[in-house]
């Protein structure tokens, strides 16, 4: 038996808790081992000292305090034990509920979660109180309910008020939104009664080049129609044009396909130009509006585009709207731009029908179909309908493969309509329908032409009946 085993059992050996048979070999080892004997002596000495450890008496007040608490809390203790053991002290119900509630409350009052919940509830309550919809409406003495003043925080913003409806108009010619510059509120009252007829006129007129008084606004370069005849040789044309202008309202829109004849270089930037003949202003009363020159980045009419003394021009202001009252039939003569303005003033724009009549433009060559087309279009614009028809016929018969033949057919059909020959007009429209590009426009024109025919035929009948009466 080694010392380690003996020393592990010395405590029991010295304490006398070992049986005699188990203690004998240990005691024999200790008697023969100095180290184990010394350790046994220390343990024995420690045990003797431990017996001298003072044991303090419990103060009586401590005992009484514990028992007082026990007697005061006997019911809760009995409840807890009873909950387990199935018994409960009778007669403890009254104080039991209150004590249980107080114990439950005291367990939560100081809880941080409860504190945070209270703060959160307080914040929500304050927020709800200041919501205008939650506030109570003040009661007036009469009993009427007065809505609470919502204050600035709940009032509808002016920016949220419904805006005025947009004045959007669809252009029948292009099936697109009509630019604001083209909206002409005064057009409707100036129209004759036959709306359908006017629509046909507008549609077909849109296919034609701009009438001579129209203003061509071409940034960079402004050119006049090259096929315009000189004024001295154009009295007949101007008279016819004035008559045509006074007869109807023609809205001209320089489309991208037209500027080739009008201006050449400024095809993409051709601004809208309108011409309106106001029947109420007498014969030849023509009001010309050049719109949006400012918005198009074009300055107001420059000195190059001078106004004749016979014109009463209504100068527009910042929007550069130019309303010009043409007082005489002479004034509706084709507007021509001074040759010096062609290319010489790239930034200037001549935008007035009263621009000084320029010298005759150099006559284009009549051999090419484009030249023939331009010439016919110029005659049409000048009011020479019959010569224009002849020109178109020559163009289409002599150059059947002309790339812009369908466009010429549409223009020719319009001229036939003007001269009262709807049959030929339909014929040319039918031919124009073969072109995929112009088929839609041709069909539209033909449909309107068909609708116009009964209206025109009915008008004389009505007049005859009224005359009979």
């Amino acid at each position: 038996m080694n010392c380690e085993i003996v020393q592990s059992q010395l405590l029991d050996l010295v304490g006398g808790s070992l049986q005699a048979d188990a203690a004998a070999p240990l005691r024999a080892h200790v008697d023969g081992c100095a180290a184990c004997r010394a350790q046994a002596a220390r343990i024995s000495g420690g045990m003797r000292l431990a017996k001298a450890l003072p044991v303090e008496a419990v103060p009586r007040h401590v005992h009484d305090a514990v028992m007082a608490r026990v007697r005061a809390g006997r019911a809760p203790a009995a409840r807890q034990v009873g909950a387990v053991g199935g018994t409960q002290a009778p007669g403890a119900e009254a104080s039991n509920g209150f004590s249980r509630f107080m114990a439950w409350l005291s367990g939560f009052v100081l809880g941080p979660q409860v504190a945070m919940a209270m703060v959160l509830m307080l914040m929500v309550g304050v927020g709800l109180y200041y919501l205008p919809g939650i506030r109570q409406s003040p009661q007036v003495p009469g009993g009427a309910i007065v809505n609470a003043d919502p204050g600035d925080e709940a009032g509808p913003s002016a920016a949220l008020e419904p805006a005025a409806p947009l004045d959007l108009r669809i252009d029948a010619r292009t099936n697109r939104l009509q630019p604001a510059a083209e909206v002409m509120p005064e057009r409707t009252p100036a129209r004759p009664a036959s709306t359908g007829a006017m629509a046909v006129e507008d549609t077909l007129a849109a296919l034609l080049p701009a009438a001579p008084p129209a203003v061509a606004l071409i940034p960079g370069a402004v050119t006049a129609a090259p096929a315009l005849p000189p004024p001295d040789a154009n009295d007949e044309l101007t008279a016819a044009l004035a008559q045509e202008a006074s007869r109807s309202v023609v809205s001209l829109r320089a489309e991208p396909s037209l500027p080739d004849a009008l201006g050449g270089g400024g095809a993409g930037a051709l601004a809208a130009a309108e011409e309106r003949a106001d029947a109420t202003e007498g014969v030849g009363g023509v009001r010309t509006r050049a719109s949006d020159s400012a918005s198009a980045g074009i300055p107001a009419p420059s000195p190059v585009a001078q106004t004749t003394p016979a014109l009463d021009r209504e100068a527009a202001a910042p929007m550069a709207r130019l309303d010009t009252e043409v007082a005489s039939r002479r004034a509706v003569s084709p507007a021509r731009l001074a040759p010096s303005g062609v290319g010489a003033m790239p930034s200037a724009t001549s935008a007035s029908p009263s621009a000084p009549v320029p010298a005759a433009a150099p006559a284009p060559s009549t051999t090419t179909p484009a030249a023939l087309h331009a010439a016919a279009r110029g005659q049409s614009r000048a009011g020479a309908i019959r010569p224009a028809i002849a020109g178109y016929e020559a163009l289409l018969s002599g150059h059947p493969s002309y790339d812009r033949a369908p466009e010429a057919m549409l223009e020719l059909a319009e001229l036939y309509r003007r001269v009262g020959d709807p049959t030929r007009a339909r014929s040319w429209l039918a031919r124009a329908e073969r072109s995929p590009t112009y088929a839609a426009r041709a069909r539209l024109a033909r449909t309107q032409l068909d609708e116009q025919a009964p209206a025109r035929s009915a008008a004389p009948a009505a007049a005859a009946s009224s005359a009979a009466e």
């Binding site: 405590l11 000495g45 431990a50 001298a52 419990v58 807890q80 018994t87």
Partner: protein
């Protein structure tokens, strides 16, 4: 209270208290209050605080009497509660003031010979009653100076005469470990109070 309650086991008394018998609890209190108080006192070192902790320990017994399932001895449960209270109290204390064996004793001015100096050479002819009065606090101080794990085992064994197996349950270590701690504690105590060994031996004789 039933006749012969002083002979009833602790667990029976606790059940009687659970049924509303406060006297049964007082019996338990009378059985355990003194050793438990000394256990706490030697662990904490402050009388007033020890009294408070003693009350807390018994009040916890009152509060949790319903949780006692009887799977262990009542003494084991009670001392486990008290030990946990002492551990909590020790953590709250910044430091514990252990009286050094070399520290000066009761002199008003703090001067005078230490207890070692006073007991040296006095065992044979000195006033034994005086030495006995001095020994008791010295032993108490030596016990309080033991390491915590040794002290608690020593106190449970010496104050409650608790079996090592039950001490192992309370402390939460194997029984052999408990015995080792107890042996170390006794040896340390003997070494600390070696000068009193003969005197104590004479007292036993």
């Amino acid at each position: 209270m039933a006749r012969g309650a002083s002979d009833l086991p602790d667990e029976t008394l606790l059940r009687q208290f659970g049924s509303g018998d406060a006297e049964a609890f007082e019996m338990l209190l009378s059985r355990y209050e003194r050793p438990l108080f000394n256990f706490i006192l030697r662990q904490v070192g402050e009388r007033t605080r020890s009294e408070e902790l003693l009350q807390d320990a018994f009040l916890r017994v009152v509060e949790r009497a319903g949780e006692f399932k009887g799977e262990s001895k009542f003494s084991t449960w009670l001392y486990t509660i008290a030990r946990n209270l002492c551990i909590d109290e020790s953590r709250k204390m910044v430091f514990r003031r252990h009286k050094s064996l070399d520290a000066t004793t009761v002199g008003e001015d703090g001067e005078g010979p230490s207890l070692v100096e006073r007991t040296e050479g006095h065992v044979a002819g000195a006033d034994r009653s005086t030495i006995a009065l001095e020994l008791r606090p010295r032993i108490a101080a030596a016990v309080e100076a033991l390491p915590d794990e040794q002290r608690e085992v020593f106190l449970l064994r010496e104050l409650q005469h608790m079996p090592f197996k039950e001490i192992a349950v309370i402390v939460g270590v194997p029984e052999n470990t408990v015995k080792s701690r107890m042996r170390y504690a006794l040896e340390r105590l003997q070494e600390a109070l070696a000068e009193y060994a003969d005197y104590v031996a004479e007292l036993e004789e």
